[in-house]
């Protein structure tokens, strides 16, 4: 069965968890969100350029229109997750002191959720026009 040099049990290998206990899920999610990010990024830039110099009323109307609102929401959700993973990677690379590390990781989650939720809520409000 498994050779003496094999460090992992067959179950561990089947689960693909490795030393991090969570496998390569976040690595993969970072790739998925980066692929999705390219067209969403271009779409965001087009939307922003189209809104330059327009009045508040016009901006509200365009941002609230279904197609633009959906693109904005996709951008926000995708970017929020992508940046959360990215900042976690940066923190794990540079912050080694346990307490500070956990506080930074927590802060990263709070910040990402807050920014993402606030942006998404604003788009929904513009869209539903309440």
């Amino acid at each position: 069965m498994s050779s003496p040099t094999q460090m992992r049990t067959p179950m561990r290998r089947v689960r693909g968890s490795g030393a991090a206990h969570s496998g390569t899920a976040l690595f993969w999610h970072q790739r998925v969100t980066s692929v999705a990010g390219v067209p969403l990024n271009i779409a965001l830039v087009v939307i922003v350029v189209a809104l330059l110099g327009r009045s508040h009323a016009a901006v509200v109307q365009i941002l609230g229109s279904p197609l633009v609102a959906v693109i904005m929401l996709l951008f926000i959700i995708n970017t929020t997750y992508h940046m959360w993973i990215g900042m976690q990677e940066i923190i794990l690379d540079y912050v080694h002191e346990e307490k500070l590390k956990f506080l930074s990781l927590m802060g990263n989650t709070f910040f990402s959720f807050a920014v993402g939720f606030a942006s998404a809520f604003a788009v929904l409000k513009l869209s539903f026009g309440v």
Binding site: R31, S34, V35, G37, V38, N41, V45, V49, A50, L52, G53, H56, A57, V59, V60, L63, M72, I76, T79, T80, M83, G86, M87, I90, V115, G116, A118, S119, F121, A122, V123, K125, L126
Partner: protein, 142 residues
Amino acid sequence: MAEVETHRITAAQRPRPLSPHLGIYRPMLTMLMSIAHRFTGAALYFGMMLLAWWLIAAAAGPNAYANVEWFTGSVFGRLVLFGYTWALMHHMLGGIRHLIWDTGRGFEPAEREMLAVATLAGSILLTLVLWVIGYLAMGGPR
């Protein structure tokens, strides 16, 4: 004798040999691009607050939106947005470069160098093009 023994350094206490880190390498373009990718990512992370502010202000009403317009119309605001545009373009192109690498391609020295130059030149070019289009869309600088 006792004093000598307490000062004796055991093998475990002796400084261990360390593998070489960033400090020993001559800065190279590919290295700088790697750092720039992480740096622009971190900058965009905090820059998302600008997007949130803009959207919330638009949803809040004309007065709140006027504050955003005041900021984006100021010299400082324009500089921030210009930097934001470059960071976004650089991180996007750098990300595409990483996706190319993920397929196992582009690792030869000449290819790495070409990708690094393309990322840098492309991000600067795209930023300038976008700002020209932006000013044209607004009907000239103001």
